[in-house]
Every structure is written in structure tokens, then in C-alpha cells.
Symmetry: C2
Subunit: 234 residues, 2 copies
């Protein structure tokens, strides 16, 4: 059951935008962190998509699966965009599907555009920042993305102040992370900031999932590995 949006307390209602060809791990990282804090904080998760049909991680284009492999799990949404409850936080994962045409992604882009003014925070993981850039919401803001996919993302947001190096970037109420596994780090950093017992939550749960979070948002060996020059300070 959805709780009403909590206007004074820490975030409680989290939505995740699912779309054809999203990256499974981009969703799993933040959710594993939310799962951890749900031991002591009531958390409501809403998995949102255009319809209630299973959302495929398999990309639309066969060229994106050159070996004709079947490595694509399928997750069920809990709500459609149309019946999504009010959220405190919207999480936008990346994945090859973010490259699809405006037409194919029009429902998702419209949902992001209409929802941003109503949430407290937006979080993107990996190339999820490309979807957000495509709505114009990132224009004039600092943001980051996956460094291996850098060129494929930044052209979607010519007015965005793309930051490198960066593990994650916070600009106002928009949090954007670097590639895939940075989804753990941005979510741990978000929890640390948002909950009064945040540091304890991070320490206890990181130990449980046997992860050593990167707690410095400037940690990023991947910008240099990908030859991306330093730009737009954190």
C-alpha cells in the first residue's frame, strides 16, 4: 500500500522507471541498498512502466546482441506510469534502450518531464542520465554518466555541464551517477545524506553485502582510462 508522500521526513516512496532495454544491474544496485535500509526504515518501491506487461531487458535492435545470446532477464512492473503513486524519489536506470528514438521513448520521456516537478529527488544510474538529458531537465546543470558510453550520452545534452572525472554528481535535487556499479555508490551516498542515521545504515549494509563503497564522489579511474579530459568541477 502506498504511503502518502512524506513532506518532512526522509524519502520513503521510491519509483524506478523501467523501459525496453534497460540494464538489469542499474536497477539492482540501488534496490539492493534500499532493501538493506528497509530493515529499519519503511520503504515503498514502485516499478513503473508503460504497461503492466513484463519489461524486457533485451534490446530492440538485433545489432545490439551480436552473438544472438539470451542473457536478458525480465522483470514485472508494479504500476503503470498512468497509475503511479506520488513519489519522493524517481530512479532512472541506463542501458542500451536509452538510445532508442524519441518516438519509441515518448511515453517514458513524458513521464519523466511531468514527474520531475512532483518528486523531491531524481537519481540516474549510468546512461540513465541520457534519458534525463533528452527531456531538457539537465540543461545548465552538472551531471555525469558512464565514461565508456560518454560520447553516446553527452550529445543528448549539449547544454548540460557534463562532469568528468566523477563517480556521482549532485546538482540541486538531481543526483547522477557514473557507470553501472556506481549505482551502489550513489545510493549509499544518497542514504548517508538523507537519513539521520545514514552513516550507520551505510556501514551496516555495506558490510552485509560485502561491498566497500566509494564514498568520495571524485573517485573515478575510468575517465582517464577512456581518455576523457577533466571538465566541469564536481
Amino acid at each position: 500500500m502506498a504511503q502518502p508522500v512524506n513532506t518532512t521526513g526522509p524519502p520513503r516512496n521510491y519509483g524506478v522507471l523501467l523501459y525496453r532495454g534497460y540494464d538489469f544491474q542499474d536497477v539492482s544496485g540501488p534496490l539492493e541498498v534500499l532493501y538493506g535500509i528497509s530493515n529499519t526504515h519503511q520503504i515503498n518501491l514502485f516499478l513503473l512502466a508503460q504497461t503492466l506487461d513484463p519489461v524486457l531487458t533485451r534490446p530492440r535492435m538485433a545489432a545490439m546482441n551480436p552473438t544472438n545470446s539470451s542473457v536478458y532477464p525480465t522483470t514485472l512492473p508494479t504500476h503503470t506510469f498512468a497509475d503511479a503513486p506520488d513519489l519522493d524519489v524517481l530512479i532512472i536506470p541506463g542501458g542500451l534502450g536509452m538510445r532508442a528514438s524519441d518516438e519509441l521513448l515518448q511515453t517514458e520521456l513524458k513521464y519523466i518531464t511531468e514527474t520531475y516537478p512532483k518528486v523531491k529527488y531524481l537519481i540516474t544510474v549510468c546512461t540513465g542520465s541520457a534519458l534525463l538529458a533528452r527531456t531538457g531537465i539537465l540543461d545548465g546543470r552538472r551531471a555525469t554518466t558512464n565514461k565508456t558510453s560518454w560520447k553516446g550520452v553527452v550529445h543528448f545534452g549539449p547544454l548540460v555541464k557534463w562532469v568528468a572525472p566523477a563517480r556521482w554528481v549532485v546538482d540541486g535535487n538531481i543526483w547522477t551517477s557514473a557507470g553501472v556499479t556506481a549505482g551502489f555508490d550513489i545510493m549509499f551516498a544518497f542514504v548517508k545524506t538523507m537519513y539521520s542515521d545514514g552513516q550507520e545504515l551505510v556501514d551496516v549494509w555495506a558490510k552485509s553485502i560485502e561491498y566497500v563503497p566509494h564514498e568520495d564522489s571524485s573517485w573515478d579511474p575510468f575517465s582517464a582510462m577512456n581518455g576523457i579530459p577533466t571538465q566541469n568541477q564536481l
Copy 2:
């Protein structure tokens, strides 16, 4: 379409055992690595469960969800145990569901027992080693598990040579990992060992997902953090 088991080449057909209350990230970590190598190697993934119904990550017992949260994504199996194809590798995730009674898990334990003689390799992630221990297959073997859940796991395998510290352990054709995010490291290590271009696959994909793999199986700060004495060498 399933390919026949490849008796001479590297692993191609991977199955993942899904069961009520498995941990989503225990599955996602290895799958993200398989997804990466599928850029150049044909990989078939089979998500296996008792029925084709969606498999819930929500634990059965309300006591395991003390805040009454809804942080539990649901994934669709691709095959039942009964119609599962021949596999090269079976992956067994952990999660709170591994604690259920023998009766509730009898189908899963039977599938593991009957399948082990037919696969080339078994891989467990996190407390997935508890399920394997419960079948007796780990008796007399070295294995590891999540260090925070150590006591809750080792009692399922009193004849197992539980190893600490360890990020992962290989004994014969059975690979067992430490907690949750060790699922990335064991899978990267498996790929490095099994594919002739393994090191390159690991380097390229780790960079893409912006992860620095722990390539030393003895890396494990969590044993000491949990007060687990050193036992049974790697």
C-alpha cells in the same frame, strides 16, 4: 533456442536457480558479467524455477520484513526445473529464502541434487552455498559464504570445510563466493579461467561497468569485521 551442451569448448549454457526469497543482487551480479561477455561469446541464460509463475524475492515470513516494506522485485523464469535444458553451469543465488524448511525447498534441493552430476560447474553466490550444503554435495569440500550470515549458513553443512577469509573458493568444479557483491568477483574469476580470452573479457567489461574486480580470492576484510577466525586454507 538452447544449444546442446558444449563438451569441449568454454561454458555457454548457464542456468540460474530462482526460488522464493532469493536475493535479486545475487542474480544480477553474475548476469551482468555474462551480459558483458555475450558481446563476443554466444551465451544462453535459463532462469529456472518450480513453475513459470513470477518468482518473488519477498521472503515468506513477515518477520523477515520488519518494516512492512515493499522492496521486492519479481522476475519471470524462462523454464521450469522439469523442462530445463542441459546446462554447462548452474548458478545458485542466496537470500533469506535459503532458510526455509526442507519441505518448502524440496523441489529446489532435488533439482540441485539431480542436476549437479550433469553440469560442468556449479557456482553459488552469497548464502546460496547453504542450499548446496543442504544437499550434501559440499560435504568434505572447501567452500565459503557471506560472512555476516556465517553462523546461519555453516550449520547447514557440518561436514563442509568452510573457508575464511575468502572472497571465493574453488574446489573441483564447485565455485562458492562470499556475500552479494562477491558475485561480480567470482563470475569475473570464472570467466578469466574458462575462456581463452578471459583476461581481456574481464578487463574490457570491468571498465564498461566501472568496477574494479577483486582478483585475489583471499581478499576479504569482512571475515575479521565479523570476528570469524581463520579456518581451512583457500
